[in-house]
Symmetry: C2
Subunit: 146 residues, 2 copies
């Protein structure tokens, strides 16, 4: 399995819970130190996006708020809140599964990640993984049937 | 006391704890439903900015992730993460004490709050409250003495 497979597994958990399916893992030195999936509706908390949950977990595990040298794998392009959290946490590399045309903050709507004014040094790699877009399609087709 | 006074009180708690002094209160129908101060270093968590803590508390109190109709009072212009969280939570009005020239996401460096592409409808009121800038100066002068 590659790391995006684990992020997709997280996203599937969100789907099973009726949430917009987004999943994340954070990897440091080949070890997964944080993972998360969107729990906004379940927990009635607009900050409980997959990325924030995974960052909190990773920082707890390593006992430091600085995640320099870590990589995040996320199934969907982060929103402004999550892109901002990635900057705050100093994650070094970001692998994105698919783009978010409504709220994407890594180039689709705004670009916080590749932005020297914000002192950002995150390397972004777009994987354009069909499984990540399929995950979202599955969610929205279920919603339409209701 | 006006609501910014309470936000400043929160910011002072951050200062006492050696954190960059930022404080927040969230008000709905004249009642404070959430408050917070920066706890990033204390809790080793880069997401524990005052705004995120206050939003989490307010949502827990009202049992809904939607904070429409609420106002946030914050001593310092929010960073991208926190401005994004304000959008996610649908807070209606934002009172800002002073600007943040390094990371401000309400106009100083980027503008996420007054941004139709992000479907944002937050009303922003700049209060230019000297006490808010003094709070920051106090923090940085203490640091220089060390």
């Amino acid at each position: 399995m590659n790391y995006m497979d684990y992020a997709i597994e997280e996203g599937e958990k969100a789907l099973e819970n009726g949430e917009i399916p987004v999943g994340v893992v954070i990897v440091k030195n080949g070890v997964i130190i944080g993972k998360g999936y969107n729990k906004k509706e379940m927990n009635n908390d607009p900050t409980e996006h997959a990325e924030i949950i995974a960052i909190k977990e990773a920082c707890k595990i390593i006992g430091d708020w600085r995640l320099n040298g870590s990589e995040m794998y996320v199934t969907l392009e982060p929103c402004p809140m999550c892109a901002g959290a990635i900057l705050q946490s100093r994650i070094s590399r970001l692998y994105i599964g698919t783009f978010n045309k409504d709220m994407g903050a890594c180039g689709s709507v705004v670009n916080l990640i590749d932005n020297r004014s914000l002192n950002s040094f995150v390397n972004t790699i777009w994987t354009y993984d069909d499984r990540c877009s399929e995950l979202l399609k599955k969610f929205f087709s279920t919603r339409r049937k209701k």
